[in-house]
């Protein structure tokens, strides 16, 4: 056989086991999940009937679905811009030839090292109404009127969650932007300085416009997180009080594994997938066009 051809076959053969298994896990499962969402399958009983899009119709008439979607939207509209903005501020601060920069960077990144289970435990303690850190500190500082039920109050729990999540991700966001700032050529900055640009103009005119790639990266990462989030909210309060902190991931888990409505849960998953694809596909298309 032609040796070039032989090499090609060998190349294909060595990647085949890995490719087949991950494509099976990711793509076949995704298709299978969609198929399940078209049935009335109820968990561990193997029999089911095809019911078409009935689960989706039920979904769109389900108030829990709309509450969950609304809360995901809150994450998208507040958490995502919040974490990007605070991260950008951190990056600009760290870019000022700070003494001990690497120490600050490491500290800011620490929450990102933690499992959501750990951070949910930490913030349950922070927000605990009677003995928790925040209320106790507010009392000591003479700000007792700001005390609140925090995560026991259905009206503000989502905002409490968003603050905790910004805390957890802000170091990561900062690192993304700091890397972006550092990749701008020194000569451009020098030139602008010679022209007498103030540091404010410098950032507005030279630095921020060149951070487009960092913005896109951060946006994609945090959007995807905001759509598929589950762990933190589940461990914090199981989506409660009531349905007040339900998001799609929480509702999907409950329908599927608490109420054994597997097909209905699969419909939830499909919605989560579609939302993610709306964000990711245009991004990948732009990055890998050519």
């Amino acid at each position: 056989m032609d040796p070039k051809r032989k090499e090609k076959i060998i190349t294909l053969l060595i990647i085949l086991p890995a490719l087949v298994s991950i494509f099976f896990f990711y793509y076949c499962f995704t298709g299978w999940n969609f198929f399940i969402s078209l049935t009335d399958w109820k968990g561990f009983v193997p029999s089911y009937n095809l019911v078409g899009f009935k689960n989706y119709v039920t979904l769109f008439h389900d108030s829990v679905f709309w509450t969950s979607l609304k809360n995901n939207l809150l994450l998208i509209l507040i958490f995502v811009p919040g974490v990007i903005l605070v991260g950008l501020i951190l990056a600009v601060l760290l870019d000022q030839k700070v003494r001990g920069e690497s120490v600050f960077r490491t500290i800011y990144l620490l929450p990102f090292a933690l499992s959501f289970v750990v951070t949910a435990a930490l913030w349950t303690w922070m927000y605990s109404p009677k003995v928790g850190t925040i209320n106790v500190l507010l009392g000591k500082l003479g700000l007792g009127f700001l005390k609140s039920g925090w995560i026991t109050d259905p009206n503000i729990i989502m905002y409490c969650i968003i603050i905790a999540l910004i805390w957890q991700f802000v170091g990561y966001s900062g690192i993304i932007f700091l890397a972006g700032i550092r990749s701008i050529p020194e000569s451009q900055i020098a030139a602008a300085k010679v022209d007498g640009a103030s540091s404010f103009t410098l950032y507005r005119r030279i630095v921020f416009p060149q951070l487009k790639a960092s913005f896109v990266t951060a946006f994609i990462i945090f959007m995807c997180f905001a759509i598929k989030a589950f762990d933190f909210i589940w461990v914090l309060n199981r989506g409660g009080p009531g349905y007040s902190s339900h998001i799609l991931g929480v509702a999907m888990y409950k329908e599927t594994f608490a109420f054994d409505k597997f097909a209905y849960g699969a419909a939830y998953s499909t919605i989560i997938l579609l939302l993610s694809l709306v964000i990711v596909v245009p991004f990948l298309y732009r990055v890998y066009r050519r």
């Binding site: 991950i22 750990v118 435990a121 589940w234």
Partner: protein
């Protein structure tokens, strides 16, 4: 690129940095001090004051509760990291250095896996593992984590292999070395850093993962440490010192990795 701002504002700069530091460290600080207090002291002192009479009892008691799950998570990390790094390295090598027609499409399909929400795989995976007789026990998670990390590893290895100049392998190609020989003789010896980066990232991801353990395992002997911790949080609601001590045990390994090996972790996350 560095822009220096004028002098008086530097004081404000450090004040702001210090403020952020306090905000970031506050939850961690209250966790550590509370983990060292007796239940009585937790009630009598504020959550931020250091313990007057430090005790290791909560740490020991929570370790006892989490002993088996900690071992389980170690098993998962060990098996998952090795397998996904190995396959990821091969994929990264082919996508970076042995491109063929259509390889870019395959690569994009691998990248897309990184962004699929886990929710779409939960139900089919439950079905598959129960058919294999693995549902509920640790084997299901071992299997899962072997597959689960491959796309991310492939991405990391491809990015880092792209930095190796093609001239390195062209000489070997002229000498008639095949795909596999080039991988073993040239690429693998240059792969120490890619392996460190990919492995550390996988360690952190598998160690911290929660939803898969929650869905696929049951019974205390089979739980990974995060699921056991969520149970501990549920069953010792008012015993904050115990909860914080448990959280500390789980946080410790990843905190150590981020503090001492953070630069490798950042390399893995940058550009994603």
């Amino acid at each position: 690129m560095r822009v220096k701002i004028p002098r008086p504002s530097r004081i404000i700069l450090y004040i702001l940095l210090a403020l952020f530091t306090i905000l970031i460290l506050l939850p961690l600080w209250t966790c550590v001090v509370t983990a060292l207090k007796t239940s009585k002291e937790v009630i009598l002192t504020t959550p931020v004051t250091p313990p007057l009479y430090p005790t290791l009892a909560p740490l020991i008691e929570s370790l006892d509760y989490l002993k088996r799950p900690l071992m389980n998570s170690l098993v998962l990390v060990g098996s998952g990291v090795m397998v996904s790094c190995f396959f990821g390295s091969i994929l990264g090598y082919v996508f970076s250095k042995r491109k063929f027609r259509g390889s870019i499409i395959l690569f994009i399909l691998v990248i897309l896996c990184l962004y699929t929400p886990p929710q779409v795989q939960l139900i089919p995976m439950v079905r598959v593992t129960s058919n294999l007789g693995l549902h509920g026990n640790l084997g299901s998670l071992v299997l899962l984590y072997m597959l689960f990390g491959i796309p991310m590893c492939a991405f990391i290895f491809k990015t880092l292999y792209d930095e190796i100049p093609d001239s390195f392998i062209n000489a070997a190609k002229v000498d008639g070395a095949g795909t596999w020989t080039i991988y073993r003789r040239i690429i693998l010896p240059l792969s120490v850093i890619p392996f460190v980066v990919a492995a550390l990232l996988q360690v952190v991801i598998i160690w911290n993962d929660f939803i898969w353990g929650l869905v696929l395992t049951s019974g205390k002997a089979n739980l990974p440490v995060t699921v056991a911790m969520a149970n501990l949080k549920g069953s010792f609601v008012a015993e904050w010192n115990l909860q914080m001590a448990g959280a500390l045990w789980i946080a410790l390994p990843t905190l150590i990795i981020f503090i001492f090996l953070g630069k490798y972790i950042i390399r893995g996350y940058s550009g994603m």
